[in-house]
Assembly symmetry: C2
Homo-oligomer: 257 residues x 2
């Protein structure tokens, strides 16, 4: 990358200030170091990076590799720009928690501001099969300590959606619903529980985003339990829109220190 | 934003292909929709977005607000570019898991490729006090089901670092060390345990990244336990480099769907 060191005394700071004052989304590419101070501290030595400053006051710093930013601060950051000798400082300060991100540039390769309009709706879709997969990958979505022994266990009246153990080691049979759990789902689960020795021997859990009208009472009569499982949360476990599940293993193994 | 619809038949596709062939990091700003298909599915309607395509084959799609991307795919994606009538399709395909991200542009406001060099080391720093704060925020870092009752409980021989209950309801006293837990730390913890009724009444846990030489044996003799707690993991709970903790609540409440 050819390094275009800005010779202008105030060119960069003026341009950046104007963009931020006009609530533009700013894209910056440059050689910089990044210092974060908040409830912990981090330092990132000099390198070429991409910086996004959004109109809502969020800032994101990307290295040229990896899908996760190396530093960031959520909306509500207040920006300060300063020329310090041959360097440019962009400081993002936030309260609650008190934290600040300092990006010190030695070179600016690009700076551009955009007024972007984005009202597009985002939708995540998931089927019952995908919910099952999500719960198998991340059983804590059902309840802490839950372990899946078998997805789809055959029992005389049909197929159990999820069969596992709770944290106390009790057997659990789960009936999954994409929409409101209704009477047929509850009666179905009850049949499974009966075929496995009744509710003294095994816990019966209906997992769904909500209960249909009248279902609560029926469940209580039958000694079954309801656990709220959000299909959207399941979709996020499975989809590329979820940073959490992947980041757990991938980010910890990243080449950072 | 003035919309510069590219009139060139192959201008955009050629430029983008060249950048990707040369393993450049590409910044794109344009009006687009995004369709993800993998183990779940998501759709994002048309809007103005910023797209980063990195040299390692990762792709990240940002809306003009929020600190999290709306879509992304990790390194290793293979890109396909196609002109479809008046629209431009950028498709990122990945195996294991099989997934694809399709970005369909109606307008391109900017496209620029960069060869970026970034060897800068990233370091996270954390003190014992910050480790305590991280464990209070996220007690599962110690062990699943752990609950903090009091950080810094005073006992006759001094101050206990963390005092809580385990998932079975037993009392737990935790001695925290930033570095290898050594004999003095273990003897200190033993004094606390004695002052609280001895090890029958309360669990004694040394939480540290590792044990100093000879410490393991001493701990066993004293009936104390060691739990590995990574300061880096603590720093991530506290710092803006961690997507996980914040995303849990913030992302779920986002205006999506």
């Amino acid at each position: 990358m050819e390094r275009l060191n800005l010779g202008l005394e105030n060119g960069f700071t003026t341009l950046l200030k104007t963009c931020l004052d006009q609530k533009k989304t700013v894209l910056l590419v440059g050689r910089c170091k990044v210092d974060y101070v908040g409830r912990a501290r981090s330092t990132l030595e000099y390198g070429d990076r991409i910086i996004l400053v959004k109109e809502d006051g969020s800032i994101i710093v990307h290295r040229p590799y990896g899908y996760q930013p190396v530093n960031w601060q959520p909306p509500g950051s207040v920006f300060h720009i300063k020329k310090m000798g041959e360097r440019y400082l962009l400081k993002a300060v936030r309260r609650k928690p008190q934290e600040s991100l300092e990006v010190t540039f030695t070179h600016i390769y690009m700076i551009q501001g955009f007024s972007l309009k984005d009202e597009g709706k985002f939708s995540l879709h998931v089927t019952e099969l995908e919910m099952k997969e999500a719960l198998t990958l991340k059983p804590d979505l059902l309840e802490p300590g839950f372990k899946v022994l078998r997805p789809e266990k055959p029992v005389p009246p049909g197929f159990v959606d999820l069969y596992g153990l709770d944290k106390e080691g009790r057997r659990v049979v789960v009936e999954l619903k994409r929409n409101a759990a209704d009477r047929p789902a509850i009666l179905q689960l009850y049949k499974y529980i009966e075929s496995l020795g009744g509710r003294g021997a095994v816990r019966g859990v209906v997992a769904a985003p909500c209960l249909a009208k009248g279902a609560q009472r029926l469940m209580e009569q039958m000694g079954l339990e309801f656990k709220r499982v959000d299909p959207k949360e399941c979709a996020k476990v499975l989809s590329s829109t979820d940073w959490r599940t992947r980041s757990l293993s991938e980010y910890m193994g990243e080449r950072t220190v």
